[in-house]
Amino acid sequence: MNDAEKTIVELRDVHLAFGDNEILSGVNLAIPERGRVVILGQSGGGKSTMLRLILGILKPTSGGVLFKGHDITGMKRRRLNQMRQRMGMVYQYSALISSLSVRDNLSLPLEELTRKTRAEIDKAVDEKLAMVGMTEARDKMPSELSGGMRKRIGLARGIIMDPQLILYDEPSAGLDPVTSSVINELIISLSDAIGATSIIVTHEMESAFKIATHMAMLFQGRIIASDTPENFKSSTDPVVAQFISGDTIGPINEGTAKP
């Protein structure tokens, strides 16, 4: 973890506030290369915000966000866009472009950002669709797909540029247990297949323990624990223990005013 060469993303004392509302108050986190890091935390606690900071869509109030050793917080747009091409983001509600077919959704970044020929693009699209098991949906529109199918297309779009880093925002939220397991297995197999690092934001413990090679817990704007899943399970930290067990009585309810 502390080996700088093996770290792909690093957040250094990141603060973020919207007006008076402080979301992150000094987040320090290093993401090891080729790992599958699950970030746990309460709903609305700033987990998704962390992903948007890594993508450079939001700028921190203070602190640094490093991707492969480059600080992206002050980066020019052109350079930032080059960095983004090495990242893939999978949205909670897929965020597929509704006016484009599945094939066009997947080929969009390739057409816009690379100089690949039509045949190469079609090949890449078919390959990625096969990886998520959705070849038959190629000519459908996003509105014709179910939530689980859309999520899979979202996964395929996330990896279409063969990124070094894939960010997942609540990948199994709102899906039935079976589809949820399928998505979990896809996350594991996809990151292995393209050798990418994954950061997964979730509050579903079962998925988290299935996927993670490393875990971090965000609580009240800070990372309060960062460890292996095994150590997380046996953690004596009262916040972590309450989060994992799902108890209604504990420091999480005391710490926040909201019920």
Partner: protein, 253 residues
């Protein structure tokens, strides 16, 4: 108000910058297919509305002014009046208002829905500039197509006025258009054309800005669409007044 205005200027600058970046890398700044889709929608799609409304306004204007002028025996001024009023003022203004309501609302609703469903953010996250990808073809489509619609508006208004003048005041078609052409100056046509481009730019920028700055789900899209149409129309009328003052002060008499 000032904040919105500076944001719209910011939007224009950043859109041009993103397009410039793209051109610098030897690629076309936006997708032509999206651009033509938008020109078809903005231009061809607006022709029935613009021509119908302009036809009736031209007709009514000729009828009402003609009856007033007839009492002084001056009804032969009608062609000049309608001609000048439309090429210079009513053509751009009416077309601007109609396009703001028809196309501005559509752009805002479309981009607003895309913003709410995180599609715009997803485009940005992929490293594709959403401004050049989404905003530039739309703004360019209204900017370039509004003047064309104004020409159609002018022609149909004159046709309406000519028809009613023939029937009510016995002005033959031929002399109607001859009188109109004699009285419409190049200055009027230039003023009308400059305004048309300006209004197109205003409508495009305002509606895209309102769409991209939507907050708060479906209700937010509704509010933004209303606000977009109201802002576009008032801004168009405001700039129209400003243009008229400048033109009168600098060029008339």
């Amino acid at each position: 108000m000032l904040q919105h205005m500076s944001s719209i200027v910011w939007l224009l600058i950043h859109t041009v910058e993103e397009m410039g970046d793209r051109v610098a890398r030897g690629r076309f700044p936006f997708r032509l297919s999206i651009f033509f889709e938008q020109t078809e929608r903005t231009g061809v799609g607006s022709i029935p509305l613009v021509s119908l409304v302009s036809f009736f306004i031209g007709l009514t204007m000729a009828l009402l002014t003609g009856y007033q002028l007839q009492t002084f025996g001056q009804e032969r001024l009608v062609p000049a009046l309608v001609g000048i009023a439309f090429t210079r003022e009513l053509g751009p203004l009416m077309t601007g208002i109609m396009v703001a309501a028809r196309i501005g609302a559509a752009y805002t609703a479309e981009l607003g829905t895309m913003t709410v469903s995180e599609e715009v953010e997803a485009i940005e996250a992929m490293g594709i500039g959403p401004l050049r990808f989404l905003v530039s073809p739309r703004v360019l489509a209204v900017f370039l197509l509004l003047p064309c619609l104004v020409v159609i508006s002018d022609v149909t208004a004159m046709t309406g006025a000519a028809l009613i003048s023939r029937w009510a005041f016995d002005i033959p078609f031929r002399s109607f258009f001859d009188i109109a052409l004699e009285n419409v100056l190049i200055r009027d046509i230039i003023a009308g054309t400059v305004k048309s481009f300006l209004f197109g730019l205003i409508i495009g920028l305002v509606s895209c800005y309102k769409g991209l700055s939507v907050r708060g789900g479906a209700a937010g899209v509704g509010d933004a669409t209303t606000s977009s149409v109201v802002t576009s129309i008032t801004t168009v009328i405001g700039f129209d007044t400003l243009c008229n003052i400048v033109i009168v002060a600098l060029f008339d008499k």
